[in-house]
């Protein structure tokens, strides 16, 4: 799963104090650890177990994910924009990998 790359929808600009919606998708099988393969062996669990979002280095929100979250996790949420800055997001895989994405928001007016 080296090709795991998050996709995000973040507005480029916002008014000061505006609450904007952030949408994210990451391609991931979210293997539950409950399925068996053709030989009857349990397929080990491998999911994105945590997601974090920061704005200019300050925490905005965080999500703990369990196997009940669907494959290719979709997460959308909100951010109150008080200043221009950089939104950074990270997805934490069971296997230790971390997938990251970032985007700038400029405050206009």
């Amino acid at each position: 799963m080296t090709d795991i790359k998050p996709r995000i929808k973040v507005p480029k600009t916002a008014k000061k104090g505006e609450i904007v919606e952030i949408k994210t998708l990451v391609s991931h099988v979210m293997e539950t650890g409950q399925r068996k393969d053709a030989q009857g062996n349990t397929i080990p669990r491998r999911i994105i177990n945590r997601f974090t979002c920061e704005y200019n280095g300050k925490p905005v929100c965080e999500m703990i994910l369990h196997p009940a979250i669907s494959a290719n996790p979709y997460i959308s949420f909100f951010l109150k924009v008080e200043e221009s800055g950089t939104l950074t997001m990270a997805w934490y895989d069971d296997d230790g990998s971390v997938y990251k994405a970032e985007s700038k928001i400029e405050v206009t007016g």
Partner: protein
């Protein structure tokens, strides 16, 4: 007679005239799962301790009938001003009828601006989904909604 209960039907029935089970393929193991209220209640205690959730403030939007049990959209919002001294700290999603009761926990800060998030979840069968909100003042609010996982209707 040994009718399986309609609520825990898990077999994939191929080629049904009436429709088809939305379950199977990737996801939960194909084995009977019974709605286990005790499991969800135990997890709730672990999450919020001895507090008793109140009804209200939380809105959980899900389809009444799932189109695909592998990916059921949900949006939760909590009535909160989201100011530093009065905000929603976290929303927990629990499922009564899945192999594991925990679905996810979403933690907010006042920088969130709005106590709302959306995601998509797996539903092993028809069941209630719970949304539990923890507020900065220590209060806990909760709502439940039933989502039906169906073989299908007869399309009008």
């Amino acid at each position: 007679m040994n009718w399986s209960s309609a609520a825990n039907r898990r077999t994939v029935i191929k080629g049904m005239g009436a429709g088809a089970l939305a379950i199977g393929g990737i996801g939960w193991a194909i084995e009977p799962a019974r709605a286990d209220l005790a499991k969800a209640e135990k997890l709730l205690k672990e999450l919020i301790g001895a507090k008793v959730p109140q009804e209200g403030k939380v809105r959980l939007e899900m389809p009444q009938i799932a189109e695909n049990g592998q990916t059921v959209p949900l949006t939760v919002s909590v009535d909160s001003p989201m100011t530093p001294d009065n905000y929603c700290k976290a929303i927990h999603i629990l499922a009564e009828g899945n192999p594991e009761a925990g679905v996810c926990t979403f933690k907010f800060t006042p920088a969130s601006g709005r106590a709302e998030f959306s995601t998509r979840m797996r539903l092993a069968q028809t069941q209630n989904v719970w949304a539990v909100a923890e507020m900065s003042d220590g209060s806990v609010w909760m709502t439940k909604t039933e989502v039906k996982v169906t073989i299908g209707g007869c399309g009008g």
